[in-house]
Amino acid sequence: MTPFLLAHFHAATEGKSLAVNVRIILRNAELAGRIAVAAA
């Protein structure tokens, strides 16, 4: 994802996309952690 497009999304959705972006990565970090624990 280019910084240009991300900036566009953030502006076009009045910052909602930023919050959702953060939410996505936090959810994925949590799931990856649980997978790593299960696979260890």
Partner: protein, 262 residues
């Protein structure tokens, strides 16, 4: 003459975890350096690491500091990539030349995957994968790197402004395994369902671990495993919002269904 450690530097916590077989999760630094605006980016980078720690795993954010490729950046390193100007965006092909130049750099999904595997890390969390663009020919290096890199990458699919169908076809051609997490529909990053079916789904981390164990025992498949983890429906951005689908074309809403679905 720039004096640089040309080896991959592994942070002490990560090195200890890898030595003793504790779970480790690789994290990319592009989201920190280029993906999020300041000053949120540094706070979020720390929150991402904390989200990994809360599960009992050790986070290993990967990036380059003054030419030293580092697995498990410390807080000073994270801060530097979040706040310095001129941080390079590093794909796999850039790693060596950036090291020789003594650059600061943030690693893409492709580079983070490749470096993680080189360091012995098997699981990686990111936001979304790169993919195939809709118009001028442009395909992210993420796809072919995943074809030859045995990483498990947890992501929310690819952004639906990309050509999701073509991206999934390329992943098939390249032999990258794709499973939905709790779904048989491929997510479109901001949206829960980008409009394409998946052949396989898993419902628990233990099922993913079973896939990894089978792969290891079989010793046949060498590519990556994409675990596509969609946002819950009530958290997605409004799919009818054209700006989510295309930054340039206002008829994006009307176009939905013609190109995004088969």
């Amino acid at each position: 003459m720039i004096v640089t450690d040309l080896h991959i530097r592994v942070g002490p916590h990560v090195a200890e975890a890898l030595r003793t077989g504790q779970p480790v999760v690789a994290l990319e630094s592009t989201i920190v350096a280029h993906g999020l605006p300041r000053p949120d980016n540094l706070r979020v980078a720390r929150e991402i690491e904390q989200a990994v720690r809360a599960t009992g795993a050790v986070p290993a954010t990967i990036g380059m500091i003054e030419g030293t490729l580092t697995v498990g950046l410390d807080d000073a390193g994270l801060t530097r990539l979040a706040t310095a100007d001129g941080v390079a965006k590093l794909s796999v092909r850039d790693l060596a030349v950036a090291a020789a130049a003594g650059a600061d750099g943030a690693t893409t999904v492709a580079a983070t995957s490749a470096v993680a595997v080189a360091a012995g890390i098997k699981v990686f969390a990111t936001g979304g994968l790169g993919g195939v663009h809709r118009e001028a020919f442009d395909e992210s290096n993420d796809l072919i790197t995943l074809a030859r890199t045995p990483i498990t990458v947890v992501c929310a699919g690819v952004k639906s402004i990309l050509d999701v169908g073509a991206t999934l076809e390329r992943l098939e051609t390249l032999g990258v395994t794709v499973v939905g997490y709790g779904t048989r529909r491929f997510p479109g990053f901001y949206i829960t369902d980008a409009g394409f079916d998946l052949d396989w789904s898993v419902d628990t981390p233990e099922q993913v671990a079973a896939v990894l164990a089978a792969r290891r025992e079989q010793g046949v498949h060498v590519g990556g495993l994409v675990v596509a983890n969609p946002l819950p429906l009530d958290e997605q951005l409004d799919p009818s919002c054209t700006t989510v689908r295309s930054p340039t074309a206002s008829p994006g809403c009307a176009a939905r269904g013609s190109r995004a679905r088969r």
